[in-house]
Symmetry: C2
Subunit: 200 residues, 2 copies
């Protein structure tokens, strides 16, 4: 989905990985969100028409499309479902805030650890983890654009996490070797993801 375009439907990501990103004039790119299966996205364009960012697939993806017209009808019929959709966008915002904190106030080591933690718990709820391992089809270049650092530095931070035997990251396969230490480095608290269920 291109920046500036006006999509007429939103979508549930059924399979695959995607990111939201923005590109600056000099070509620098910043990834502002990573979407995993189970994420509903594109509600931005449902309410605001024009995209202010791009959505890019990292892999082949399967989507369940939801036409804006259908969503509008849904809204007039079900307050409950409206709340749930709205809630997904609120959680997106909460995640953005957590990323802002990570960008602004965490070391790149802690930031990276935080991302590894976040993706682990998000993938766990959709059963895409295998013990303490999961797959994340992202290159170090893209990871650099996510963390807001250079690709070279991403590599060095990864080296140091590996050296400490906190994680193993080979190709697209991540394994957490020491969860407690990882959480400690990341200062990770999953509350912002609102994963535990509560009456809605």
């Amino acid at each position: 989905v291109a920046d500036g375009s006006r999509p007429t439907s939103s979508a549930l990501l059924v399979e695959g990985f995607a990111v939201r990103s923005k590109v600056l004039a000099d070509g620098a790119r910043q990834i502002t969100a990573i979407h995993v299966p189970g994420d509903f996205f594109g509600l931005h364009s449902f309410l605001l028409k024009q995209m202010d960012h791009s959505v890019v697939a990292l892999t082949g993806c399967r989507l369940a499309l939801a036409d804006h017209e259908a969503l509008r009808r849904l809204m007039s019929v079900s307050t409950h479902l409206t709340r749930l959709l709205w809630m997904t966008t609120i959680i997106d915002a909460a995640t953005h805030r957590e990323w802002l904190v990570a960008m602004g106030r965490r070391s790149s080591l802690s930031h990276m650890a935080h991302l590894v933690c976040e993706l682990f718990v998000r993938l766990q709820v959709v059963r895409l983890t295998d013990g303490l391992s999961y797959r994340l089809p992202i290159t170090q270049r893209q990871l650099a654009d996510t963390l807001g650092v250079s690709p070279v530095h991403v590599n060095r931070v990864l080296q140091s996490l590996r050296a400490e035997k906190v994680i193993s990251w080979v190709s697209t396969s991540i394994t957490i070797l020491n969860w407690n230490r990882l959480v400690e480095i990341a200062e990770f608290d999953p509350a912002y993801l609102s994963l535990r269920s509560e009456a809605r």
Copy 2:
């Protein structure tokens, strides 16, 4: 509004300035949003109950409170108003994304300029600008927590914007001396704020 609390109402900020922030274990603080009069906030707690961040007043504030119970009734009665409230949270998220880009990929000079631009156009729509001037009751310490840099560096970036005669910033009074240059430094495009009206 304290992090972790469970407010029972949301609010329209009628007068005054407030910020959303998160504090890390070592005391480092990150401000993730600045609210100006006309902003509706606290919808996070309407849908998710527990706050994942704090809201702090920068000045005395006047609020118009909206009880969650009343909002729930409103949702069941008016699809249109629901859309508008939802939309404010979507714009919050879009702003968070723009801030993420600024944090990750802009120089601190550009980041600062971007913030000055954003607040100018947001205050302009609520008629709180006077020509190219506006008031922003924020200290350099708080500004540092917003931009994710040290207070000392904020001061130096401000000096350089002043030296170039791009802005004047005395106490709480900001005046833009060279809008074109400021926009150029910031690479500012207000599209993400969705201020131009469009059928909703």
